[in-house]
Every structure is written in C-alpha cells, then in structure tokens.
Symmetry: C2
Subunit: 318 residues, 2 copies
C-alpha cells in the first residue's frame, strides 16, 4: 500500500506492506485523513515519533467480514485495558497506550489502517465522509464543557482561529450566549462572524484583560497560554489545548495571585461529537479548506501550514 513514513526528521512517501490484522482488530481502508496541528508538530520532532503519522480519519472496514463495508472513524488511544488507570476509566491515559500516528503505532496517512474494533465508531448515513473526518477534532472540543462548567451566562473566550477553534467555538456556543473568538486572520474571522459568532482581534487582548470567566486556548502556539491567563478574571479558568515542541517563557505569578485554574485537555468523547454531527449542530463545510489526492501530500502539508488554512484532507482512496 501507499503510505507516508516519518523517520529521523524526514517524511517520505513509500510503498509498504498492507498491515497485519491482529486479534480484535479491524482492517480499515482509509478514505480521508485529516491533517492536524499535532501532525505538523510531530513532523518538527514532537513526541520523537517514527512511523506512519496521522490520526484523523474516515474509512470503510474490510475485515472482519461481520463489519465489512461499514463506514467508520475511530478513537486514537489504544489502551491496555487492565492497568490502574484503565480500571479507573482513564484508558486514554494508560501508560502502556499507543496512539495512532503519535506514539508507538502507525497512523492514517496510508491506504490501510489496523485498529482495535473497540476503538471504532460507526458513521451514521446522514453524516458524510467529509463531515465524519472532523469527529476526532470535534470530540476534543466536546471535552471542554466536560472539564469546565459553562453556564448560559459564562463569558467564554476561544483564543485562536484555526481548525480546533472552529470546533470549540461551535460546541461552546451551544452552552453560552457570551462567546468571543479571538484570532489574527481577518479572512478566518469573517468566517466565524458569518456563523453569528462574536469575534475580536488578538491585538486587542490587552484591552480585554480579566474580562472572561473561561478562556479556551486553541492557538497551537506558545503565546496562547500567557494570553489566555491574561484574559480571565480572578478565579477564572483557562482550558489549555495546544501541544508544541518548543518550550515557552512565562511567569505564572498571575496564576497564583489571581488564583486562576489551568485545565489541560486533550481527546474527547466521540459519541458526543458524532451526535452533534448527526443533529447538524456543527458546520464543517466552511472549515474544509482543501482536499488533495494522496500524490499531492507535500502540497497538502504546505497548505495546512498556512495561516489561513482550516482543515486540509488527504484523499487516500474512494
């Protein structure tokens, strides 16, 4: 099969063997693979990953025969199921876990993927492939109100104007009437505004100091955390979403003085995300920047890196 392979800082397209299916696993023929900021960080060296990158996908089961033909997407953490953390329901934090295209396991920038059947989620008929490939990203956004209580009157800022911000803003506007997306790119901000979401330019952050109950950091950059901490009121909460390779320089004293809580948040509930897609509560089409055939993967990655890009997909097959 065709796949992208990352090793020693180099990403190359190569012909590889179709993966061996182990007990309990399904073989999935990938249709679309989404390019995520984490993938771009991995290609810079984050996580010291070697193998096939990519973790957002939609595809069709080939084996086992009982599931053949089913359209599926899947959760990215593969846990041991028996350790202390797994038994406490924290399987996504299992210390023995592998993570699709991120840690110890090949991902989805390939024609085929093997994945435990328990990780699969069926895609309802009313959800298109182009929507379903957003499930993993949308689930990460759905985790935000699972971790932090948000009421109808909570003043919430989403910091960032990228792919995750687009999902976070849409999830959070189902919870509160007082939402502001704070970004940089004018073109992207118009898109948010077009959905009826209030926007502000990040140049105005200093004038918004302390005016939010919750700030959700989705910038994917090192500036995100210090800015988010500035935005919340005393006793406010910052939800930290970005992972990146290089350290930041920051003085956390305001966190102490103003008794701010910072909540790290990663993957989220696929059921909730798929339910929102099925109920047409989330717009994905405006945030689907481009679809490239596998052969154009270099162009696709370049496109995904551009400031004005939302989600870029690789079409691995049909």
């Amino acid at each position: 099969m065709q796949a992208l392979y990352f090793k020693d800082g180099q990403l190359l397209a190569k012909e590889m063997d179709k993966p061996q299916v182990r007990r309990g696993e399904a073989l999935v023929k990938i249709r679309y693979a989404g390019i995520c900021s984490t993938d771009l960080e991995i290609l810079k060296g984050y996580m010291d990953f070697t193998g096939i990158p990519g973790h957002e996908f939609v595809g069709t089961v080939e084996t086992p025969r009982s599931l053949a033909g089913r359209r599926v997407t899947g959760e990215i953490n593969i846990s041991c199921g028996s350790c202390e953390l797994c038994r406490r329901g924290l399987g996504k934090h299992c210390r023995k876990r592998t993570v699709l295209g991120i840690a110890g396991r090949d991902g989805v920038f390939a024609e085929y993927l093997t994945i435990p059947m328990t990780n699969l989620h069926a895609v309802p008929d009313s959800v298109s492939d182009e929507e379903a490939v957003f499930t993993e990203l949308l689930a990460a956004a759905c985790e935000i109100p699972e971790r932090v209580y948000i009421s109808q009157s909570s003043r919430v800022a989403v910091l960032g104007d990228g792919r995750l911000a687009a999902m976070a803003a849409q999830v959070l506007r189902l919870k509160t009437k007082a939402l502001t997306v704070i970004g940089i790119d004018q073109e992207k901000m118009r898109l948010f505004a077009g959905l009826g979401i209030d926007t502000a330019h990040s140049a105005a952050i200093s004038s918004m100091k302390g005016s939010f109950d919750v700030a959700v950091e989705c910038t994917g950059s090192r500036i995100g955390l210090p800015d988010a901490v500035e935005l919340v009121r005393p006793h406010g909460t910052v939800v930290l979403k970005s992972t990146f390779h290089a350290p930041l320089k920051w003085n956390p004293s305001r966190t102490v003085v103003d008794e701010i809580t910072i909540v790290g948040s990663r993957c989220g509930p696929f059921e909730t995300a798929m339910g929102l897609l099925e109920k047409k509560k989330i717009e994905t089409a405006p945030f689907l920047t481009a679809i490239y055939p596998f052969g154009k993967w270099e162009t696709a990655l370049r496109r995904a890196r551009r400031r004005n890009a939302f989600k870029v997909l690789l079409e691995m097959g049909t």
Copy 2:
C-alpha cells in the same frame, strides 16, 4: 516611628511619622513581623512596590479605644467592598484592593500599622505571639484543601522544604495519610521527619514521576511548576503557590496530554488557621528560625534568605 522603607530598589531604615488613622481603621503597635518569601521577591523588584514592606504580623491595638489592648493579627487584602468581585465574595481579588506591604499600602516592617478593623483577627489567649505571627502563612496553607478535594487516601506531595511547605505539610497531613514532602536541605528534611512526615529528596523526582494525585508547589522557585507537573498522575492536580519576579522556561504540553489541572492559590482563611493554632494542631516552634530586634534587620533578611531558614521574625516592640 522606626520603619523599613523600600524605594527604587533600595531598602533603608528610617524615622517616619506615625501613620494617620482613617475612619474604620485601627492603629496597631506591631510586636513581631514575619519575613516571607514574597517580601524577598519584592525587594528584588516583584510588584514594583514602594513603601514599607512586610505583611505578616502580630501586635496590639492602640486605637480605637474599644479595641485597645487586644492582641491581633490581620488579613492583608484591603478591598473596596462594592465592586463586582467584592459582591461575589472574591474581595481578596478586588481590582481596587491594596495589599499590606505588597501593593499600594504600607506594611508591617514598622512600629505601627493602620489597617481596617474588619481585617483584624483577635488572637486567643492560648495562642502566643510567636505562634500568631504564623497565621497568615498558615491561612495560605489552609486554602489548599479549600481549592482541591483531598481524601484520606489521596497521594499528596508537598514540593519544597521552606516556611510555606512546613505549614502546608501540617495542614495536609490532617487530610491524608499518604503525604510526602520533597525537599533539598537535609537539616530541614530531618525536621519534617521528626514530625512523622515522610520525606524524599528532590534529586529523586524523576523516579517519582506520575505517582501523586496532588502536588503542592511551595518551592518559591521557578523549578517548582515543571517538577510538580512531572510528579502528578494523568488527570492529577498541581496547586501552584510560588510567586517570583523572573519568568520560567517550560513546555506545558504534558499538562495537555495528561490533562493535568493547575490551580493557582494565594491567601487563605484566617479563621481556619487560627482555629488550628488554638487546637494545637500545628507546630510552629520548630519552624521559628530566629527572632531579631528591629535594629538587626539586615542580619534578619540575610538569615531569611539562607537555604536552611524557615521563619525569621523582626521584633518591632514588646
């Protein structure tokens, strides 16, 4: 009156006018003033403070006559009482607040202090002056279990072996049976061990990674936060207590990946602290390093800065 005055990076002893008592305020003759790590940071430039530093005290009321002779200590935040934050019960975060010896208001390294009567707390007869001067520090420790749920089986690490760690460890051992103080100084660690508290050397942090439910950062240094984050398990909680002048270099990605919560925490409830002192639940004598008369203030500050110091007091009067 005699006082220490800080201006333009210089601390000097000088003769000053006895402060004017405003409506609603008491005039307190200071007996002891405690030297806190925040004071030492202020003398490095933290908070851009100008005036009389110091905020930990015990003294005797001179006026109003109705309170004259009462032994008192006092809360350090002076709030407006009418803003949104004050009305929400977050008076210690009032944006118009002044803070004794920290922000916009003279502190306690002086013979006399004026302070709103509502900030005062009477010292019970059974609590000595040498104990009462620990109230503010102990209250900050009492805030920890107010912010984070700690059960009898919670595995809790206190990171640091200083004055705040001494109070935090004693408050937390009333909550959990699984407490470890992680410090550097052998002499200080023996003191903790003498109170029956488990100790570990910070050189062993890498072998303790992920083994605590809660890590309380009391180091007063920039290394504290990254170390504390390493110590907690996935979904664990870090309580951040240190404020300092210079920024730290840190990659918060693990906070996101392991979905760790960081809770900034500053001042705490005086009633709880005084109650613990009254019930003799907290040892202060082993942590009272030295008492210096006012004239020896330079020696006192030098002593407070030494690695093996706990609490150093200035005796302002008798």
